[in-house]
Symmetry: none
Subunit: 140 residues, 4 copies
DNA sequence: GTGGTCTAGACCACC
DNA sequence: GTGGTCTAGACCACG
């Protein structure tokens, strides 16, 4: 389980952590029973304040995606994948929907947007990295 | 020039106003020399505090998209469209890029994402409205 | 008496009018007894709202630089030159002082500032026009 | 980082703050990565309302000179010095240019203006203080 | 603790 | 009538 955090992103740090874990669950890179890195380890690894990591874990527990075994660590809960897949899909739909509405409103064509989507999909990026320039230009 | 504000959106009100004006400029619905509605008028129309509207107008001025003639009103600046088109496109590219990376990371296929994009484009929404359910489900 | 008004200047229109008349008095281009253009003529000539021109004339009268002969027009007052020269000099001193303090604070040398002054003086501009690029660059 | 605000200046308070920071960046007294004083601290120190300070910081962010880490503070951005130096120089050039045009128009000689510049440079003032009388008179 | 947003209301300057 | 500035205070989100 490798997490990356982009401090300069406009997405809050704790949300970045939560989402990466949720995506990993949705994509089966994390399965029920798997153990998450300890707060301290993840904090060291990502250079993020331990309080922030703890908040992410707490939120995930509230969502019912993980459970804590005191003194043992934090584990993926049963049924997490089903919940995650639904939620992740909804989130992605909403974000694409918003972006598309904006693009339309600014006069962009459907074809143009499709090109951007394809170029984005072709690109492999660490989560929350900035979009590379060629994505923007190749669709220009 | 008709603006709508969605108080329930997670996007800040003043950003909603700024963006709608920027999109309008990018799409030539507002041209250099056109006058924006007065702060008070827009405030009345949208039920938003005048200070908030003024904040939007000030930001647009800092971006060089509008200029103020004191006592007269706020006007679209020369060259605003060029600046806007670039900036709006970049913003849309970034948002789609992020959403696609998230979707990929959660195990969604390119075809699936394309369907969402098409469904979104087909839908006519007021800016900053929530995505309608059928967009999510029809692509499900 | 030829006046020019730059709408895009950050200096208020009525101040631009007042100052140009004051400078003209200080430099003896306008002498006691000379008649100013009528409010209406100046308004037509400069495309400025008549109220604004009238305000300028009123201000100048309050300063004791002009006097109004009802139905006849507005005339330069006796002793106007003495008053103007002092006031104009003071104004110029203050503006240069402020600009120099700013330049120093931003790390500019005295020599650099002197070059800018010389370049500015060499240039003949209509009042309140933007500084031409070569002034900025030749001192770079 | 010591800031002073002159309430009696005709320059808006928030602009005074912005400019002092910009000059500090241009002169390398503030470097990329440095943290600005917190909004509340600067507010206490200068006796200015926190909203006003926040407005300055926001504007600087729009200009790309600083970036915000939510909950952490505001930091000088990479490349800020280059942007600042250019902008500060341009501002100073414009102000001197305008003042010189005014002076010329009022009949002042180049030598006279140079004397004022030298006297101003020799004087050490806190930002936005009024020009001391001797600057005006020594050049008289 | 940090900054961000929004409201409310006062006062000023310009046209 | 127009926009600009500043204050005051509340509430939220982030770390």
């Amino acid at each position: 389980m490798q997490l990356t955090v982009n401090i300069r992103s406009n997405v809050a740090v704790y949300v970045q952590i939560e989402n990466q874990i949720r995506f990993a669950i949705a994509a089966c890179r994390l399965k029920p029973g798997d153990r998450l890195p300890s707060v301290r380890d993840l904090s060291d690894q990502t250079q993020v304040n331990p309080n922030t990591v703890a908040k992410s874990y707490r939120d995930l527990e509230v969502m019912g995606l993980v459970y804590t075994r005191h003194g043992m660590g934090v584990y993926i809960a049963d049924g997490a994948q089903t919940k995650c897949k639904k939620a992740c899909r909804k989130m992605t739909v909403e974000r694409i929907f918003e972006a598309v509405q904006e693009g339309k409103s600014a006069g962009m064509s459907k074809a143009e947007l499709a090109v951007i989507l394809n170029a984005s999909y072709a690109h492999d990026a660490t989560p929350y990295a900035e979009a590379p320039k060629n994505v923007a230009t190749m669709a220009g």
